[in-house]
């Protein structure tokens, strides 16, 4: 079930291409202004984490919300991206952007491999297979000490190298504002890419698979192949997030990628509104920012995630997007009544 259930109520986020361009502009401007509003390093780190979570959430939504594949192992792709990109730099001495690409490609390949492996598995079996996969990946990261240094972790990871273009000031990514622009910029880019795909016949294909695979096959859709595609795309984006995570946080420990992380990303997707792409963006922002605002209450972050996830599923399964639709419908009704009365 997604927010599309309420077709009669217009999705306030579903706009024509003209207004979408305005929203895009607004997003760019907001991203530009945020580091100027938040100057301290604590909040800037949060902004970067927020951008990373957005990337993770939209990647998962592509797999879960659009293709309908219950992937509980998203944390594994995050971790693969982080470790692969870092190790390519430290062990192979290759430059950052090459390592970045490696992280994306390997995370994407892992996603496709999992999907190909699980291609005949439906619903719950896939959920458990993906969970099992995530546990294995985490355990490998913990136990392969010669490669990953295990629980001790990898320290001193450098940010991406400076960009020195002729005639322009040098852009150093040690500066947290610049790092934020980089990560948020990529998050926006991935969002636009996925959004275009979703609005194309590819999105229709994935939706058909999500709704009824047997039906979709009877229309000529090669369900296994498209599921692999969706998994590959979503996990590749997670891999990119991993690479940025490593280079912005500077240290890497396996426990950053335990299965609980998969659940928090899931919470962001569901709370935002599964299958809408923009919903998970809001969900990621809300669930990253809110616990920080409520910091006075101690370690309530995960309690919040759990409560939000449960309550949303029970009472507002379409998440923030559905809530927005209802609010919008109320406004329209109110306006109509005022105009008539």
């Amino acid at each position: 079930m997604s927010s599309r259930d309420h077709t009669e109520l217009a999705n306030p986020f579903d706009r024509s291409s003209v207004s979408r361009r305005w929203w895009l502009l607004g997003a760019i401007v907001t991203i530009g202004l945020l580091p100027l509003v938040f100057q301290d390093s604590y909040w800037r780190t949060n902004l970067i984490v927020c951008a990373l979570n957005v990337m993770l959430a939209i990647g998962l939504d592509f797999i879960l919300g659009y293709a309908g594949q219950l992937n509980l192992g998203h944390s594994a792709f995050y971790g693969i991206g982080a470790y692969v990109s870092t190790l390519v730099i430290t062990k192979l001495g290759l430059p950052f952007w090459v390592a970045f690409l490696c992280g994306i490609v390997l995370a994407g390949a892992a996603g496709m491999a999992l999907s190909m492996f699980a291609v005949r598995l439906r619903g719950h079996y896939l959920a458990i297979a993906s969970l099992g996969f995530a546990v294995i990946v985490h355990q490998v990261l913990v136990n392969w000490i010669s490669l990953t240094q295990g629980p001790l972790g990898i320290y001193g990871i450098k940010p991406p190298p400076e960009i020195a273009l002729p005639g322009l000031p040098v852009i150093s990514f040690g500066n947290s504002a610049n790092m934020f622009y980089l990560v948020a910029g990529f998050a926006l880019l991935f969002y636009v890419l996925l959004d275009q795909l979703v609005r194309s016949p590819i999105g229709e294909t994935l939706t058909a698979i999500r709704e009824d695979e047997v039906s979709a096959s009877s229309l000529g859709i090669n369900c296994p192949a498209w599921k692999v595609f969706a998994f590959g795309a979503g996990s590749a984006v997670a891999g990119a997030a991993g690479a940025f995570y490593a280079s912005s946080v500077g240290t890497l420990v396996p426990d950053a990628f335990i299965i609980t992380e998969s659940f928090t990303i899931l919470a962001m997707v569901i709370v935002g509104g599964m299958g809408t792409l923009i919903g998970p963006v809001w969900g990621a922002i809300l669930l990253t920012v809110l616990p920080e605002v409520l910091r006075g209450f101690g370690d309530l972050r995960l309690v919040l995630y759990g409560a939000a996830l449960t309550l949303v599923v029970l009472f507002m399964p379409g998440g923030i997007v559905q809530a927005a639709q209802i609010v919008r419908a109320q406004f329209d009704r109110l306006r109509a009544r005022l105009e008539a009365g």
Binding site: H124, V303, G306, A307, L309, P317
Partner: protein, 294 residues
């Protein structure tokens, strides 16, 4: 050498029978509802804490605390079904209830974290240190003996219940075909509730007995649950006999892996086995094909 083999075999059976208790609950719920209850793990943890507090804070008998944990588990099962599965059943979504239970699980774990703290509780049952010598130079602790006895009794009782009593058969009927069972005058909703209560009672009991063995933190359940999933899949969702065999198998594998290989690799071994199972025989060891009705 054979002593070690035998000893680890015994330990494996102990561990296995606990896993079976926990996994049985999952498989029963799946059989009747075709849903996975992620919060099952936390019933185990709560059962362990309930037993702990009953024994140490209220000074109760450890054996009685197992019964207490059973009750606590039963109540929790009733709550989870009433609050989550029953309301969501009408919506007819396959994914939503699962996701809701993930939410409940995360919530419960972290509430427990706030309440009990992350530091492990030392749960020593009065029987943990009693040692009974067995044949061939092996031994078994009193605690483990209790585990085997209680688990075997419970599992046997459950098995008999499922196979021979009317209720048990009704449960299986609902698992096979809910509509028809309904038409025959069986109220599926009541039976589903009964299933939940039984399943969670088993989990609570398992927790009480696992408490002295595991590291007792709010996350104790998670270490067991993913293995329980593995067992349910290997044995076949909804298949009671398969779950029993698979549970014992996993217990033995874990025991032998710890002894002869690196204990850190247990999870990898078990889950690779799980993935292999899913690849080649997703319906489990004792296959029971369910053809899709088009």
């Amino acid at each position: 050498m054979s002593t070690v083999l035998l000893q680890q075999g015994i330990n494996g059976v102990v561990l296995g029978s606990l896993y079976v208790l926990v996994a049985l609950g999952l498989t029963l719920i799946y059989g009747v509802l075709v849903q996975i209850n992620f919060a099952h793990a936390d019933v185990v943890t709560i059962g362990a804490f309930a037993a702990y507090f009953f024994t140490f804070t209220f000074g109760g008998n450890y054996l009685a605390s197992i019964a207490v944990a059973l009750l606590v588990g039963a109540i929790l099962g009733w709550l989870v079904n009433a609050a989550i599965f029953a309301p969501l059943r009408e919506r007819g979504s396959e994914l939503l209830p699962l996701i809701a239970t993930i939410g409940v699980s995360v919530l419960l774990q972290n509430v427990m974290l706030l309440w009990f703290g992350p530091i492990p509780y030392a749960f020593d049952s009065p029987y943990s240190n009693q040692v009974i010598r067995l044949w061939g130079g092996t031994f078994i602790t009193g605690q483990n003996l209790i585990i085997i006895v209680v688990s075997t009794l419970t599992i046997a009782l459950l098995y008999a219940f499922m196979k021979f009593t009317f209720m048990g058969k009704a449960l299986r009927a609902v698992a096979q075909d809910r509509e028809t069972a309904g038409l025959m005058g069986i109220n599926p909703n009541h039976l589903i509730m009964l299933t939940f209560v039984i399943a969670s009672a088993l989990a609570g009991m398992g927790g009480a007995m696992l408490g002295p063995i595991l590291v007792l933190t709010p996350f104790a359940g998670t270490t067991v649950i993913v293995k329980a999933f593995a067992i349910v899949i290997i044995g076949g969702f909804g298949n009671v006999e398969g779950t029993i065999i698979a549970g014992l198998l996993v217990g033995l594998i874990e025991s032998y892996t710890t002894q002869f290989v690196n204990p850190g690799l247990i999870d990898i071994v078990v889950f690779t086995l799980l993935l292999m199972m899913l690849a080649f025989r997703p319906t489990g060891l004792i296959a029971e094909k369910r053809e899709e009705n088009v």
